[in-house]
């Protein structure tokens, strides 16, 4: 029962991480690559850490070893820091790319045209 839950979380997390890698190889310009990479890796890593936390709670329930509590809490800290910092880094990167003069590929309207 709990193995199926952990397996489902792992499959979803690994699938979305692979989708981010395929996305940055297939998309045409830097903004769509940022769009694919940031959201897919953040979502996939959330599910991977969810699998780890479920695994540590299950092992603590069986063995009563406090080392599993440490593993669960530190994995939760990883995903908290990643969710807080990953979109900010992507925003700074997209803003820097636009300020260094890269136009979006096939853009119909560019709101930042004369304001940089």
């Amino acid at each position: 029962m709990i193995e199926w839950l952990i397996g489902t979380f792992l499959v979803v997390g690994v699938f979305f991480n692979l989708l981010a890698s395929v996305g940055i190889l297939r998309f045409p310009d830097v903004y769509t690559r940022i769009h694919a990479a940031t959201k897919c890796t953040t979502f996939g890593t959330i599910f991977i850490v969810l699998a780890t936390v479920t695994y540590s709670i299950y092992n603590y329930w069986i063995q009563r070893d406090p080392a599993w509590v440490t593993i669960g809490i530190h994995s939760a800290l990883v995903v908290i820091f990643l969710v807080l910092t990953n979109p900010v880094g992507a925003h700074a990167l997209g803003r820097a790319a636009r300020k260094s003069g890269i136009r979006p590929y096939g853009a119909v309207i560019d709101e930042l045209e004369g304001r940089l």
């Binding site: 952990i6 397996g7 792992l10 997390g13 690994v14 991480n17 692979l18 981010a20 890698s21 395929v22 940055i24 190889l25 830097v30 690559r33 940022i34 990479a37 940031t38 890796t41 953040t42 996939g44 890593t45 991977i48 850490v49 699998a51 780890t52 695994y55 540590s56 080392a67 440490t70 593993i71 530190h74 994995s75 800290l77 990883v78 820091f81 990643l82 910092t85 990953n86 900010v88 880094g89 992507a90 700074a92 990167l93 803003r95 820097a96 790319a97 300020k99 260094s100 890269i102």
Partner: protein, 87 residues
């Protein structure tokens, strides 16, 4: 090896990291390469969490915390440099 499913998931995540490394090699412009490195950082953090669960080591997950924060600082520094210095 204690938990083989976490180890195989880490192997698949490292295959994704290799695909991100292709973007770092063949990226036509500098921000493309930085996007590749940013994706690679997040995938390595995910792989470290998976290996920490697979080998039952807490120290790998602590290294993942430090690596997540330092890769964020590195991405911000490169972005600050690309947009033309400290403005």
């Amino acid at each position: 090896m204690i938990a083989p499913e976490f180890f195989y998931a880490a192997v698949i995540v490292m295959i994704g990291a290799f695909l991100a490394l292709l973007r770092v090699f063949f990226g036509p412009s500098v921000p493309d390469r930085v996007v590749g490195v940013d994706t690679l950082n997040t995938l390595i953090v995910a792989g470290m969490v998976l290996l920490g669960a697979a080998y039952d080591r807490t120290i790998y997950i602590d290294i993942a915390i430090v690596y997540a924060l330092l890769s964020y600082v590195g991405t911000l520094t490169i972005a600050k440099y690309l947009q033309g210095g400290l403005r």
